[in-house]
Symmetry: C2
Subunit: 158 residues, 2 copies
DNA sequence: TATTGTTATACTCTATAACTATA
DNA sequence: TATAGTTATAGAGTATAACAATA
């Protein structure tokens, strides 16, 4: 960008505070989220692990025996889009889908031994990824960020 | 979800703190960003205004005369994908693209009078949207969030 | 050589509608 | 009627490669 443009921007900062794109929380949320996701995808390129399948594996681990529809509700994913994601995880032998006794419509989802082992290592690497993403924050800022973010979207009155 | 699943999850919380999906900042960043974007798209459905074109209009307003490549660098968008976005904004008479004197490769981007007027109203409605998104936060939390988010991705050493 | 705007294209992600079988 | 899993499909959004004009 040219020097002229930078100067114009600097002048504008004092004149219209709260009017700039950079004053919008939503803008920063998107930039940081994309920054995080791209870093995630890059770090796990070897294993071809993507953020959403990782989330699904975490939830199956935390809620063994849950159904695909349960996962969809927890992650706000359409059932239709989950079909391929779960089929892929099944093909790779990370999860297994058992017929649920009692309700024949449902499948019960479980991690395989292989899936559990893989997930354990991936979780460690995800924590490393987060440490890198948040390396400029103090421990207090990190705690605060997690608390504030979850306060925004986790609530009863929605 | 069944009651059984909820109980299992509750037990696990104490056992493996820092191991749950909900302990990951990246997970919350994504959920909050999507929550924000969906709200934005819904609120501006009438005007068919989407987050990225809104960002582009803001930047052209803040940097009058900038080029498409400048916008791409500022928003981390590919030049190729900007072509359609800018063409649409031009068709709707929100922006105009003038041949830049001096460098014949570049176009200089400006808001039209109509675009500037529209943007002014949209900015007000975006602030209302943000106020609603962040309604559960204290003013201090809001300021903190903006500061922390921009600290994460805005830096020199990248 | 590098950059700008552009075209074409492929890939991922997401949303919707409809179907069946079960409840 | 409602729900679970599924199929097919359309639409965004994004990434890459190549090109002509210009620097």
């Amino acid at each position: 960008m040219s020097e002229k443009i930078k100067i114009v921007a600097a002048n504008d900062q004092g004149e219209r505070l709260g009017e700039r794109l950079e004053d919008l929380v939503g803008y920063h949320l998107r930039r940081v989220s994309l920054f995080d996701m791209n870093g995630f995808i890059e770090q796990f390129a070897d294993d071809n692990l993507r953020p959403v399948p990782f989330s699904i594996l975490c939830l199956i681990d935390e809620h063994p025996g849950c159904s695909a529809a349960d996962i969809g509700r927890m992650l706000n994913l359409q059932r239709a889009n989950l079909v391929h994601l779960l089929a892929d995880l099944d093909e790779d032998n990370f999860i297994e889908r058992r017929a649920e006794e009692g309700d024949k419509r449902k499948q019960s989802l479980f991690l395989t031994a292989h899936g559990a082992e893989k997930l354990s290592g991936w979780r460690r690497r995800v924590r490393e990824h987060e440490n890198h993403l948040l390396r400029r924050l103090t421990p207090a800022e990190r705690t605060n960020l997690l608390r504030i973010l979850s306060k925004i979207w986790t609530s009863e009155d929605r």
